[in-house]
Amino acid sequence: METTATASTAIQAGQTTPKRKFSYSPNRVAHTLNKLGLGYFAPFARLIGKDEPAKQIREIVTNTVLPVVAFLIFVALWAITASTVKTDSVQIPTPHQSWYALTGTAIPGFPHPFPESIDGLTKPYFSENDGLDPKSINGFTQAETVAEETYFTSRQERVDKFMDRSKEAAAEGDPVKAAKYKENAEMFASKSYAGNKTFYDQIWISLLTVAIGFIIATVVAVPIGVLCGVSPMFNIAMNPLIQLFKPVSPLAWFPIVFVITTWGIDAPPSDSIWQRALFTSAGVVMLCSLWPTLINTAVGVASVDKDHLNVAKVLKLGWFKRIWKIVLPASLPLIFTGLRLSIGVGWMVLIAADMMAQNQGLGKFVWDMYQNGDIMSTAQIIVAVFVIGAVGFALDRVMLVFQRLVTFEEQSI
């Protein structure tokens, strides 16, 4: 009886909790934001909570105005450079040209950045494409969407045609042919659009490649790092190899990884996302990015507090349990520092790896645009540079959150 009573009180309590007046704690929100690497928004949170408004506004202005001013100065310098650094065959695109290369439309009020490319192409070519220049990134993406729709229309026509022929053959009393045509129609119906990769597809492929490389690197580096940290002998044995391979450039790893993937992976169907080039590229990323994790893990494990290890001794924990319960948790902050460095290195070498392996990621995009040799394609490379930077920054922030979650004391890294 008594248990039921307690349960009912609990339910009542449960019902009342959400009704409790919501209290906004600016401090706690600001703290969480800081922890998530979104410290920029902390003053906004405090401002909402009316926590020293004047100070918050000052902070927001400083945090916003300074970077914006710096960025504007950068854009101005860029525009000046672009009009100076120019030869007969190449030039640095202007900010406006780069904007156009991304969006496919000029900024209203400014002169068109690529007058020539408009003259060459007849009007309908643009109107078919919602007025976006089909050579720009968004214009190309738009054109791909249209092409895909057109493809499905023509696919349906093929299917219908063969279905009709199948019916005709059946009516003429030729079941073998009828079955054959039906099979043909089904074959057409099963086809998917073999499209061209757009810039946005290529960003995803790059992220996928880095994810694969990074996961394999982690799986390899953490255990070796733990062993290095636990056993000084093992550390001495591994040290020359680590020091030797750590500084090697991705361009040098590529031919070796290429041989391994060619040997180890069967050529996949061409519409599969798991292309051999993707694994070659991921392999190169893995080889270049495992070192920071490995070294940080080793250092972290080696510097675990002696008191913790003594506790393990007192509790008579086995070797595996000691690593799992004591050593790994204690060295997590350093492991995550290593992982954060690793993902940075991985993203940085990815572009080179993609170029060499012809993996359909951002590196291939940059290489293809370089080969196009058109001023618009150079402008697209500038867009790619910004995107590569932005994605790299985002990856770093994500890792920072993980790093802070496993770190007990406040660390400012």
Partner: protein, 454 residues
């Protein structure tokens, strides 16, 4: 009003029929329905791109992805490893691979993508030095410009021990043989890959040369020329017109003048792939023939093709640059724009047929410059040509196309006649030096050169 609408419907119906053109006969049983083809950013990849964009591959039940490759070596590697099902290849590539120059792999071709399409461009400085030696008429150079005008300059450079450096795109590329032919026809030694007297093999091919020819990927040619690393190059379009448009160089001669209607690129597949996918190969060839035919059918089609090729995922160069040569004109010195209706030929003159004699010509040049280090009997050439070039597959595709009703027998009279007569072109003197070439007598041809190993 009503009539207008009926016409519209009729046009739409006609377009529909055109779109799904060859559905009269039965489809081939293709072994592999999803394919990936590679190409290099050059206008002569057009048949592959058009076959995709116009849905000719789709008509055969093939889903084809077309992917730009970094350079010729990479492209060939990926065909060999099976990452690519087939590719736009230099005519010399299947031959070079099969005779083990550079890399060993059996590569075959059943479709010649185009004729001509290359030119030799020199830097503005070199042109200024060459121009006084060039015979003129009405203030314009008389074409073809031979390397005679270059000879005094290379002689002086050799005397100063400062050989001129020029670029070509690949050791087994047509460009390499063309620029060598052009130079040698004026008595300039372009350098050998092998010295029979000492047995020395030289991988870059500089031995005893008056100039140094090195490899540069096509899209990088204009930049390399502008940076002064090379003073001239032989490359396909659009990279010669690009030099004119940007004012960094002057095309002096086209390969149409060096050898009229010479084979340029082929569609190559590996032997392994060909054996595993015989019907697919025929189906692909059918689509390519339709594309080649479309490209040569009208000037409007060429403009449309130039537009498609200027897309960033294909050639990506500006439309004006691509359309300049694609639409039958070629600009030499700035302002000296000449009619060259046959600068790019995809289908006319039986251009898509894989002639044995074309294969043999490349083999003779490989021996001439020492890429093949031994002299071979005439029978070797025939054997190799029959191994690499597969007109039987081409003719099977032709038969299918005629059965489909998309083409008539008259469209392929030349191809049929050639096939029945043994697959060789008759003797021709269409070279810049008027030297006769008969594909059935390769050794006699090799002997006829003043400069060259024999």
């Amino acid at each position: 009003m009503k009539t207008k609408r009926t016409t519209l419907i009729a046009t739409a119906a006609a377009a529909l029929v055109a779109a799904t053109g060859t559905l009269k006969a039965d489809l081939l049983d293709v072994e592999k329905g999803t394919l990936k083809f590679g190409f290099i950013k050059l206008t002569d990849c057009a048949p592959i791109v058009i076959a995709k964009e116009k849905g000719y591959f789709d008509d055969e039940g093939l889903s084809v992805t077309v992917e730009a490759q970094g350079n010729w070596k990479e492209l060939l590697n990926r065909v060999i490893t099976g990452d690519l099902d087939g590719a736009h290849m230099l005519a010399g590539q299947p031959i070079g691979a099969t005779v083990e120059f550079g890399i060993q792999a059996d590569i075959m071709t059943a479709y010649s993508l185009d004729y001509n399409g290359n030119a030799i461009t020199v830097s503005n400085d070199l042109w200024a030095k060459m121009k006084p030696n060039v015979p003129m008429k009405d203030g314009k150079p008389i074409h073809p410009i031979t390397a005679d005008s270059l000879k005094p300059i290379t002689d002086a450079a050799v005397a100063e021990n400062n050989k001129l450096k020029m670029g070509m795109v690949f050791p087994v590329s047509t460009h390499n043989y063309e620029i060598r032919y052009w130079l040698a026809s004026a008595g300039i030694k372009p350098g050998f890959y092998y010295n029979p007297a000492t047995g020395q093999v030289d991988v870059p091919g500089f031995l005893n040369g008056d100039v140094e020819l090195s490899v540069t990927p096509p899209p990088q040619m204009p930049q390399t020329l502008e940076q002064g690393t090379i003073v001239g190059y032989c490359v396909g379009e659009p990279w010669n017109q690009q030099a004119v448009v940007k004012g960094i160089g002057v095309p002096v001669t086209t390969n149409y003048d060096i050898w009229k209607n010479n084979p340029e690129k082929v569609f190559g597949v590996s032997k392994e792939w060909a054996e595993a996918n015989p019907n697919t190969w025929i189906a692909v060839t059918k689509a390519l023939i339709r594309a080649g035919h479309w490209l040569d059918a009208s000037p409007e089609n060429r403009v449309e093709a130039a537009k498609i090729l200027s897309q960033p995922n294909y050639v990506g160069a500006p439309f004006e640059v691509i359309s300049s040569s694609m639409t039958g004109t070629f600009e030499f010195e700035k302002g000296d724009k000449r009619e060259m209706p046959d600068f790019n030929v995809f289908f006319r003159y039986n251009a898509s047929y894989p002639y044995y004699s074309d294969c043999v010509w490349f083999l003779t040049q490989m021996i001439r410059w020492g890429q093949i280090t031994e002299q071979k009997p005439d029978s070797y050439f025939k054997e190799m040509a029959e191994k690499i070039y597969r007109p039987d597959v081409y003719m099977a595709a032709v038969k299918e196309l005629i059965d489909d009703g998309a083409f008539t027998e008259e469209d392929f009279t030349d191809a049929t006649a050639t096939f029945e007569a043994g697959g060789y072109k008759p003797e021709t003197t269409d070279f810049i030096d008027r030297k006769p070439y008969d594909g059935t007598k390769p050794n006699a041809y090799i002997q006829s050169f003043n400069i060259g190993l024999k």
